[in-house]
Structure formats: C-alpha cells, structure tokens
Amino acid sequence: MSLENIKTFVGKAWRVFNMAAFPVVVMVVVAVFLNYAISTFFINAAEEKIKNIMLSHRGLHQYIQKVMHPVFFKAMEQGKISQDYYAPEIFSSSFIVRVEHSFYNDELKKAGFPEIYYKLASNNPHNPLNKADEFEKTLILMFNENPEVSEFRKVVNIDGKKYLYYAIPFLETSKACIRCHGKREDAPQGIQVRYPGKGGFDEKTGVYRAIESVRVPISDEISTAFILTCSFSVGVIVMFMLLLFNRQLKVTVDEKTCTLEEEVLERKKREADLEIKNAELERFAYTVSHDLKSPIITIKGFTGALEKDLLKGNYERMAGDLKRVGDAADRMNNLLCDLLEISTVGRVVNTSEVVDMNLLLNDVLEQLAGPLRNSDIKVTVQPDLPPLFCDRQRMCEVVQNLVENAINYMGGQTDPQILFGVRDESGVNVFFVQDNGIGIDKKYHDNIFGLFNKLDAKSGGTGIGLALVKRIIEVHNGQVWVESDGVGKGSRFCFTVAEN
C-alpha cells in the first residue's frame, strides 16, 4: 500500500468517523433513555405487585385487630377464655400475617413463581423474628422523623441479584395496641408468659413502631430491559451501518459510473477525432493522387504532341510545349517538396518555448522584405505583442505563409496594407494577419485551408500554404480561421494556440 493509498484510507476513515460520530452519540443517548424507560416500566409493575401484597396483608392486619381482637377481649371479659390465655397463632396479627405469607410463598413456589420476601420489621418486637435489621431500623427512624413520607423504594443488590425493595410504615401505634405493647405488667398474662424479654413492651401511641418491608426479585425484568435495549440498539446500529454502507456503495457506484461515462465520452471523442483524421487522410490521398497525376498527363500529353510536331516538321509551338513539360515537372517537384514538408509537421515536433512574437515578426518581415518591397506593401505590426508558447520555427512558417498569402492575394489594390495584431477573446490571445486585398466570399472560408486548394488557378504557389498553416496550428491544439466580409473587402486570418 503506497503512502498515497494510506492517506486516502485515513481520509476516508476520518470522514466515516465524522459521519458516524453524531449518530453514535444520539444512539447512546437514546439507548440509555430507552433502558431507563423500560426498567422504570418493569419497576413500576413490580411496585404495583408489592403494593397489592401489602394492601392485602394490611387488610388481614385490620381484620385481626378490628374484628378478631374485640371478639377475643370480649370473650376474656366474659370469662369464656381465660385471662392469661395467649396464642400468637390466633392472636398476633404480625404472626398470622407472617405465617399466612409463608403459605403464600409456598403457593407461589408451587405455581413456579419466585418467592416474595415479606417482613413486618420492628425495633421492639415481641418475637425476635420480627426484629428490624440495621437498614430497616434506619427506615423506621426515617418514617418517624418524616411523617409526610409514606413509602420507600429502592432497587437493591443481594447476592448479585436485583430486587425492588419497598417499605411503608406499619399502622401507627394506637390505644388498642397498647393493651399488648404497653407495660409488661398490663399485658395479658399469656403474652407475658410467651415473651419473657423486654421486647414488644413499653411502646407509646402515635409513633410508627414497625415497617412492612417487601422485596421482589426484578433481575429478570432488568435483564429483559437490558436485552430489549441492546436488541433495539443493535438493530438501529445495523440499520445505520447498512445505510452508511449503502451510501458509501452509492458513492462508489456513482464514482465508477462517472468514470465510465467519462471514459465513454473520451472514447467517443477519440473515435470522432479518428473519423476526422481518417476523412482527412482520405482527402489527402485523393488530393495527392489527383494533383500528382495532373502534371504527368501534361508531360505525357505534350511530349506526344512534340513527337507529332517533330515528325511533321512543325517547329512553331515546340518551344512553348517544351516549356509546358518543364513547368509541369517543376510543379510536380514542388508538390512533392510541399507534401514532404506537410507530412513532417505532425511527425517532427520541436519543443515549444515562450516565443517573443515581436522578435519573430521582425525575422519574418526581414525574410519577406523583397516581395513586400516589390509589391509596395505597407506592413504595420501592433506594438508590444504578448509572448506565445509554441514551436518557434513552425510559428515562423505560420506567420510567413499568412503574410505571403496576403501578398499573393492583394489584387489590384493601389494602397496595399498588411497589419499583424492581436486581440483578446474571452481571455485567449487571437493573433491575426489582416490585409486589404481581394477578400474571400463566405462560402469559401472553409475550403481555402484544404490541401492544394486555390481560389485562383493563376495565382502563385501550389496551394499548400494555408493547408500547412492549418496543420501547424492543429499540432499546437489551436484554431485558425478567416474573417472576410466578401470579395474586395480584404481578409483577416486569425489563429490561436492552446496554452501549454
């Protein structure tokens, strides 16, 4: 893996992290909230269960104290039951409820439900079984100090299991209670015998002497909440990752599609270019065969005519015919030279450089000084021409051919002028050679750049100049065109060169 690849990978990972960071934070917050909500729901359900049990137990306490006790005491007063008779099994509400609860637990167990802890915890019980532990003691104190608090609940951990602990103060000690929980000597004889210690006596009215505390296991519920939250979170994370993955996939596919589309476009462009090149090549072959064959016909034709005249002794036109043959051979030679030249433009590429066009113009005009002087043409060069990045030698040929073209097609202009200048066209430097010569009809603006195309058969040159210019400019990835308002209005040959 190259350094570049690693950089790309790290960049991608960072983007994904940035993309993922926010949703992950949101996800965690949602999960915590969800866990809390589900747990609370289960805890509330557990609490309701506890309250139900407590209320049911309280009902039993009430029944014992309000219904059974009066009957007992009345029976005692009437002597039906001995004054010193006491049996907690039929007399003590705390005993009865405790035992009743243990039966209830047995039933729960049989039915496959978890047991529920229940205790009537007191600081000062007759029966040590009901003695409050340290925690329950603090709760009793708390309820007595804060009469407005009616319940206490807490999730506690015992032996690695979670329980909902719930406590409410037991019934406030009333005068009826004092009968058994007052001074020892005032209590029924049976109680005094049964509970020989100090426990359970000397209570005062108006205080909470005990709490009812219940514990139900909620480990399963908490686990369920946790599993639900986890499932939900995992689901959301998987969905999110799928979305992310899908998005990433889409990006990748889009990129690939883009690349493919570009490739197709590129290929189409190359095919179109190739087609143009092929057409050009065909035209070139056609032109070459036509234009090279033409002088051969002339040479063969006139040598035949000469032969005939020679036989007849007709010498008059022989000199003229010989000249035609010679000229045709020369023309052929010129054509071949031109062909060689134009075919090298594409192949031999000199390195491009920043060319000072002012100096280049000086050189070209110096070379053309003779023909310009002969035709009495006034040449103006726009000062401070911008430099051009091109093949200097080829650019010389371009400018030279364009100026020569202007000289050749001056026509009968009495004040012949040529201007070399530059103009800016949306940031591109357009160089031009402008003349006030014969001008060119719009319909010929394209084919004048064709190989050996000449608008005037009698004009000088083989008709390669503009074709050569076009070829050189094409090699420079530039454009060349002519602007002319028509015959007699002069012409302006413009060209651009692609930057770099």
């Binding site: 056609y286 036509h290 016909i297 002339t298 063969k300 035949g304 009809d441 010929y444 005037d456 058969a457």
Partner: protein, 146 residues
C-alpha cells in the same frame, strides 16, 4: 448537322490540359467551336447567359460540356448538380473528363446524372483517341437535344 455550328463548352482549370483537349479536338475537327472556361462559376454564367456571356450569338448554347471535377471555388460536381437540376439545361450531355479515378467521384457524378464519366488517359495516343471518339460519339452519332 443543319449547317449549325457545333459547340463544346470545356470546363478545365488546368491550362495545359485545356490546351491538350483543344488541340486534339481541332485536329479531328469534330467541333466548330470550343469555348474554354477555367472556373465552375464561369461555366454556369455561360450556360445561364449571364454577365459577359449574355450574348447568345457569340456564346451559343453548347451541344456538349466537358467538365473537370476539381475546380477552384465552385467545383465540377456542383456545376453538374446545377445543370441536371435545371429543366432547361438537364438535356445537355455532360461528360466528366477528369484526372480522378476515385470511385467516390464517379459515384457522385452518376448520382448527379452525369451522361458519361471518363478519366484522362496518361498516354498521349489514348488521350487523342478518347477525345476523337468522344467528339464523334456525342456530336455526330448521338442525337443532340438541340
């Protein structure tokens, strides 16, 4: 032959080739008048009797046109298309006499209803024979449209 002069319009941009054609035609005396123009535009001007060819007496309707294909400005095919598309001119026998033996050129020429397509022979003897045969065929054997 009604005593009417037979006219050939030669459209040829190469002056040497034009000279060869005219010399051979004169040698065989197939036509009374050969008018030579170098450009396609001039040929059309002649046929339409425009500009300097307005005088029909001096420049009568030709009985045969020998047309080169590669001409400056308006090229031979365009001249042919114009002639064959014009109801007044389309009967004029047009023989394409060209250097090109490119298939595309002959196909296009026949597409535009050229009456005949011949390539200039390189051999001088063949060139002479071709022109003699052409002249005899189109001006003597062939029933002329006018």
């Amino acid at each position: 032959m009604n005593g009417e002069p037979l006219t050939i319009l030669l459209v040829e941009d190469n002056p040497d080739h034009a000279e060869l054609v005219m010399r051979n035609m004169e040698d065989f005396q197939v036509a009374n008048v050969i008018t030579h123009v170098e450009e396609g535009e001039a040929a059309l001007d002649y046929l339409y009797g425009r500009g300097k060819y307005a005088d029909r007496k001096q420049f009568p309707m030709p009985h045969l046109m020998l047309l080169d294909l590669r001409l400056p400005k308006v090229d031979g095919l365009e001249v042919l298309k114009e002639v064959k598309g014009n109801p007044d001119l389309k009967a004029l026998p047009v023989v394409i006499l060209t250097t090109s033996d490119a298939e595309r050129d002959s196909a296009m020429a026949y597409e535009y209803h050229a009456n005949s397509y011949v390539t200039k022979p390189v051999s001088f003897d063949e060139f002479s024979k071709l022109l003699r045969d052409l002249g005899f065929y189109w001006l003597a054997w062939n029933k002329r449209p006018w």
